[in-house]
């Protein structure tokens, strides 16, 4: 990234009018918080929050070879995504190190929308462009003309259903209403004469939607949702709440849990790597990073068969007992050793607003990573007791499904 002034999103003026504290993030001037990040966090857990996510990168991949190309360029089985479906995936380097985590939407016949993290947008566009050689495909960065609005929370659906003028358009969607939209599916809708791609995806652990719309229509849609959502308790929510919400949901953040030096397996996300992908001839598909990742997978499998504890570090959840936040880069220590007994490092942490105790994600040596293991975290010279816990820290309550007759 250059040191140029951060870009304003199509909604920065809205945040200023709402009195948000703005912060540069990934090259963009973004709302960090509005009325207060804890209140915003709680609103998303109990009602709904609206987020400006326009800093994210939107890359269109179109052409006859689009699916085959993405199978090659990414670790996942992109050709297996049904029309109007979506999938979480990653793009890695030849050595298996993660360049970015992504969501890929199959938003039209022969077309995919790849959504990248703001800070990695240029890297992802470059890598995709380079990897496209030999494929009949076009890779276009549409970020600057696309706005992205997130509406997340148990009342998100009610909020969007109440927005006047947000309507399903038969020619874009596969039919059905917003209420019927499945998790990780998307549909086309219309708003004020503009097309909106609505996806049932999110980064909070709640039900919710992400709305992709042309930058020119963003402010009008934002205001319409804010107004319609008010009776349901919808509030604008910033990056601080976004971070505490995803942490409670156990979701990784690139730059913390995922970096260039980490493979998907290290972060416990080996499931996104699809070694079973095949090409048009039914042969195992040579995707970028395959060989390196196959070696990592084999090493892990061997260690498991030999009942050895792998020597690499694994990503775990930590839960603290006090109220002092755990934070990124704090060292994780063996509980009975001296301060040289470092067994890991925190990658993300905070005081969980929903649970009321400190939580963190950390890379720790596998021998110290079993759930229940007591450890210490060095909080600026003080040892805070923690325990390894299963992820996620928080799971949203689900209504019991209706019994079948």
């Amino acid at each position: 990234m250059t040191d140029a002034a951060p870009h304003r999103t199509p909604l920065t003026a809205e945040h200023e009018a709402l009195g948000a504290t703005l912060t540069p993030f990934g090259g963009w001037l973004m709302p960090l918080r509005y009325a207060g990040e804890l209140a915003e966090h709680r609103a998303v857990r109990t009602a709904a929050g609206i987020f400006d996510l326009s800093h994210m990168g939107e890359i269109s991949v179109t052409g006859p070879d689009a699916a085959a190309f993405l199978d090659h360029a990414l670790v996942g089985a992109i050709s297996g995504i049904r029309l109007m479906g979506a999938r979480y995936s990653m793009i890695v380097a030849e050595d298996g190190g993660v360049l970015d985590d992504l969501i890929v939407y199959h938003n039209a016949q022969g077309e995919y929308l790849v959504v990248a993290n703001a800070a990695n947008r240029d890297t992802v566009v470059s890598a995709l462009t380079e990897r496209a050689s030999g494929f009949d495909v076009s890779v276009v960065d549409g970020t600057d003309r696309t706005a992205l609005i997130g509406v997340q929370g148990p009342r998100a659906l009610e909020v969007l259903e109440a927005v006047p003028g947000l309507s399903a358009t038969a020619e874009l969607s596969l039919g059905g209403t917003l209420r019927e939209l499945r998790y990780y599916a998307c549909t086309g809708m219309g708003f004020a004469g503009t097309a909106v791609l609505v996806a049932r995806t999110g980064y909070t652990g709640e039900d919710g939607f992400e709305l992709f719309v042309d930058a020119g229509a963003a402010a009008r849609l934002w205001r319409a949702v804010l107004e319609a959502g008010e009776p349901f308790g919808l509030v604008p929510a910033g990056l601080s709440a976004r971070d505490s919400l995803r942490l409670e949901a156990g979701m990784p953040l690139y730059g913390h849990e995922l970096t260039r030096d980490v493979t998907p397996f290290d972060a416990g996300l080996g499931r996104v790597v699809r070694f079973d992908k095949v090409d048009a001839d039914g042969e195992p598909l040579e995707f970028v990073g395959r060989a390196a990742l196959a070696r990592v997978a084999a090493e892990l499998e061997k260690a498991e068969l030999d009942e050895e504890t792998p020597s690499r570090r694994i990503l775990v959840g930590l839960a603290g007992e006090g109220r002092r936040p755990l934070r990124a880069d704090y060292e994780v220590l063996a509980p009975d050793g001296d301060t040289t007994a470092v067994v890991g490092r925190v990658t993300s942490g905070g005081l969980s607003p929903t649970l009321g105790h400190p939580i963190a994600l950390a890379f720790v040596e596998a021998s110290s990573g079993a759930p229940g293991t007591p450890l210490h975290v060095d909080v600026r010279g003080r040892r805070e007791p923690v325990r390894v816990v299963d992820l996620p820290f928080y799971t949203r309550p689900r209504p019991p499904s209706a019994a079948r007759p």
């Binding site: 504290t21 960090l32 918080r33 207060g36 990040e37 804890l38 209140a39 601080s240 505490s244 109220r323 002092r324 936040p325 934070r327 905070g350 005081l351 600026r380």
Partner: protein
């Protein structure tokens, strides 16, 4: 606009001190606003010595950790348990119920008037 009461004195590090006996010390509205939601406060014990210009504790918000600098030299006479139990008080009422410690003063360190603090913080 953050509140900066006229009857208090201030440090460049955003603490306020009144002129009671003992004095009461807290953080300003400017600081609380900039920090965001405060989630933890670490304060000294009653009887501890504090020194003007030196760190006497820490305040943590969701996104940051900040040291607290004492405006005075003296002995801690009282610690606000309500703020330790409910750090959000610092955001809600930084000059009232959100006070931090009371100190029996030996000497007062360099402090600013409200006008000087207002100018320093561009308010």
């Amino acid at each position: 606009m953050p509140t900066i009461p006229e009857n208090l004195q201030y440090t460049a590090e955003h603490e306020w001190v009144d002129s009671g006996t003992p004095v009461t010390i807290g953080i300003t509205d400017v600081a609380a606003d900039a920090l965001g939601d405060i989630v933890y406060v670490d304060l000294p014990e009653v009887g501890a010595a504090v020194e003007a210009g030196q760190v006497f504790g820490e305040v943590e918000s969701v996104k940051s950790v900040s040291e607290l600098f004492s405006p005075v030299t003296g002995t801690v006479a009282e610690v606000n348990a309500a703020v330790v139990d409910g750090p959000e008080l610092l955001n809600a009422d930084p000059y009232g119920d959100g006070w931090l410690i009371r100190v029996e003063v030996d000497t007062v360190g360099p402090v600013l008037t409200a006008a000087e603090y207002r100018e320093l913080t561009g308010n």
